[in-house]
């Protein structure tokens, strides 16, 4: 099986083939001589040049993969390479989408539909876990869409407003 693993800006292609002793790995077409073992679901041990690397992994509801190991954390997208490309092309261009940085409740709108907004200007106030936070516009433009009203409960990453 060949998968693309994207961490940050970097995408690596990995080929994983079951072998007698575990898994055989190729990284970007080159053999990766690591001894890989799935200890249990979500826990993977890699031995490379006599060094031990242990990772936990989990996939959340949005399909993002969470990896931890050696006091480090990563968030990865693990996909078939063709899927990944299609996704990148599908992203809208040229306008700013304001999404909820956290799940919470819209307490107050600070700008009206059609209003001109400046970079850093507050668009609405979101309350979560007893903290009120201003959600600000990242750029100059017009508030083209307001997807929520005061009192609405929103989920993380939910669209709040669009600026053009």
């Amino acid at each position: 099986m060949i998968v693309a693993v994207q961490i940050g800006e970097r995408t690596r292609q990995l080929e994983v083939v079951p072998s007698d002793s575990g898994w055989r790995l190729q990284l970007d077409g080159e053999p990766l001589p690591a001894d890989a073992a799935v200890i249990r679901p979500g826990l993977i041990s890699l031995l490379l040049d006599g060094q031990s690397f242990t990772f936990t992994w989990a996939r959340d509801g949005q399909g993002a993969v969470w990896l931890s190991g050696g006091g480090r954390d990563w968030q990865a997208e693990v996909r078939d390479p063709r899927q990944l490309q299609a996704r990148r092309h599908a992203e809208p261009e040229g306008r700013a989408r304001l999404t909820a940085p956290m799940a919470g409740k819209v307490v107050k709108l600070l700008a009206e539909l059609g209003a001109a907004v400046e970079p850093g200007q507050g668009v609405l106030v979101l309350e979560a876990m007893k903290m009120q936070n201003e959600v600000r516009s990242p750029k100059r433009g017009t508030l083209k869409t307001l997807a929520v009203a005061a009192g609405d409960t929103v989920a993380t990453h939910q669209l709040l407003a669009e600026i053009e």
Binding site: V5, L14, G70
Partner: protein
């Protein structure tokens, strides 16, 4: 001693109190909202009673429902933990009126110290130094503008009923005052049900040091050393340690005596914490008294060897302290990290969600007080504190080394969290040298992180691990013969024998 205690709280502190009850042979009763049916504290207590729907006003803050649960369970005492009803004098009085023991100070002591404005008045009356500002809550914007102009900007707005940085705003100039006052009052109202806000001079980059006190009902009062709590974000502590680095013994002694004076003036009984600001010249100013158990109490427990929750219960049951001030001899060094579900890259915004993986550290000198478990979806209605990680060492370098080790062992996936931020703090030479004040977090985040020569290798192997995990998830192909175990092959050979 009590036979049964109701714990009027949730999360890690409810679990902590249930454990103290078990240690003392006392039955514990948990209460829970509809959002918390599967919460850890419900599993850890001996009994559990539903309070109501998820909003705190209908559950954990609802006094009649908490009292009804206590009556139904037959509990003799209520431990309020911290937050929620812990500093509510009306609740303490309602417990007493219902024939229940409130594990904490008397309603009168709470009224005298519980609000920051009342405590400022009391401190001023007993020659304990305070910062200039309003003694009462601000009545109007005009008054706030006048006082701020008098004492000079920057000023701090603080909720009179506040704690934990909620309802608190720093105001740098007059133009910000109106909106800051409105936001602080709204936040204070939402968090504490009281919109009163007072104003005082802001001390930039002070240190925040507090004294733990313990008093019984027989006139014994001791202070149990200090906790340095300067490392804060959004005015909320995230790292606490004891003893405080860079604090002269004479200053520590003077702060301990001032704390005892404040407690004595309020006829204080049970555990409490007196908070001080310390400026760059090591002058200290009284801030407030927290009339309850603090989040960071384990730090003091590890250096004094005392179980503060057990002592709260024993004092409430009428037992005298069985040690004197001279016998309080802190040993070694302890430090705590508060593990929050929040995103340090997004200004520490809360980040609720499902805990997909959780593997806490252990080993010498490591303690974890947690309220969560793998597989639980953390409700978004309450505080984002997940767990507290505390390490102890014979000295500060050993405590820090153990924290570094514990942080490298800790795995938490599914929610954004501040573990990576803590790893950076504990790798920072400035922190190791004890150079912390309330501006520390902002300064650290403004720096470029030091290069990590092993980062590339680890990231590559993480990607490989993800690919292996994905391949292992696929439906298994029919097992090749070679994959059969030696036992299976031997059994097959035996079966084929004539």
């Amino acid at each position: 001693m009590f036979r049964k205690i109701l714990i009027a709280n949730r999360g890690e502190i409810a679990v902590r109190i249930a454990r103290a009850c078990r240690d003392l042979g006392i039955a514990s009763v948990a209460v829970y909202s509809d959002a918390d049916r599967r919460a850890l504290h419900v599993q850890m207590a001996d009994e559990a009673i539903r309070l109501g729907p998820a909003p705190a006003a209908e559950s954990y803050l609802n006094i009649p429902r908490v009292l009804a649960a206590a009556e139904r369970s037959g509990a003799e005492a209520i431990h309020p933990g911290y937050g929620f009803l812990a500093e509510n004098a009306a609740f303490a009085a309602a417990c007493r009126d219902a024939g229940l023991v409130f594990i904490g100070p008397s309603p009168a002591s709470m009224a005298a110290l519980g609000s920051k404005t009342a405590a400022r008045k009391l401190a001023a009356a007993h020659a304990i130094p305070i910062l200039p500002g309003t003694v009462e809550a601000v009545a109007s914007l005009a008054e706030a503008e006048r006082v701020a102009a008098e004492i000079g900007y920057p000023v701090m707005l603080k909720a009179a009923a506040g704690g934990g940085g909620k309802g608190m705003r720093r105001v740098a100039s007059p133009v910000e005052l109106a909106s800051a006052l409105a936001l602080a009052a709204a936040e204070a109202g939402s968090a504490f049900g009281d919109t009163a806000v007072f104003l005082e001079r802001a001390v930039d980059a002070p240190r925040h040091i507090e004294i733990q006190i313990l008093a019984d009902a027989h006139g014994h009062l001791v202070w149990l050393g200090e906790r340095e709590c300067s490392v804060q974000r959004r005015h909320q502590k995230i790292i606490e340690e004891s003893p405080a680095p860079r604090l002269a013994p004479a200053t520590r002694q003077a702060m301990g005596e001032a704390a005892c004076a404040a407690a004595r003036a309020a006829n204080y009984v049970n555990a409490g914490t007196v908070e001080f600001l310390v400026d760059e010249r090591e002058r200290f100013y009284f801030l407030e008294v927290n009339t309850r158990l603090q989040v960071e109490h384990p730090v003091t427990e590890l250096v004094t060897g005392l179980d503060l929750v057990q002592w709260q219960i024993r004092i409430a049951a009428g037992e005298p302290l069985n040690f004197t001030q001279a016998q309080v001899q802190p040993r070694g060094h302890a430090i705590e990290c508060r593990i929050y579900a929040e995103d340090p890259e997004r200004d520490f915004f809360p980040s609720p969600g499902a805990i997909l993986r959780l593997q806490p550290p252990s080993g010498p000198g490591v303690r974890e007080d947690t309220g969560v478990y793998e597989g639980w979806t953390v409700p978004l209605e309450y505080d984002p504190l997940r767990a507290k990680l505390i390490t102890w060492g014979e000295d500060r370098p050993q405590a820090l080394a153990r924290m570094r080790r514990a942080l490298s062992e800790y795995r938490l996936a599914g929610v954004r969290n501040n573990l990576g931020f803590f790893r950076r703090v504990f790798a920072d030479p400035g922190f190791a040298a004890g150079r912390t004040d309330t501006g520390y977090v902002a300064r650290l985040l403004a720096q470029t992180p030091p290069p990590d020569p092993a980062a590339e290798r680890w990231e590559t192997l993480a990607a490989a691990a993800a690919a292996v995990a994905l391949a292992a998830e696929l439906p298994a192909a029919p097992p090749p013969a070679a994959a059969a175990t030696a036992w299976q092959r031997a059994a097959r050979r035996d079966a084929m024998r004539p």
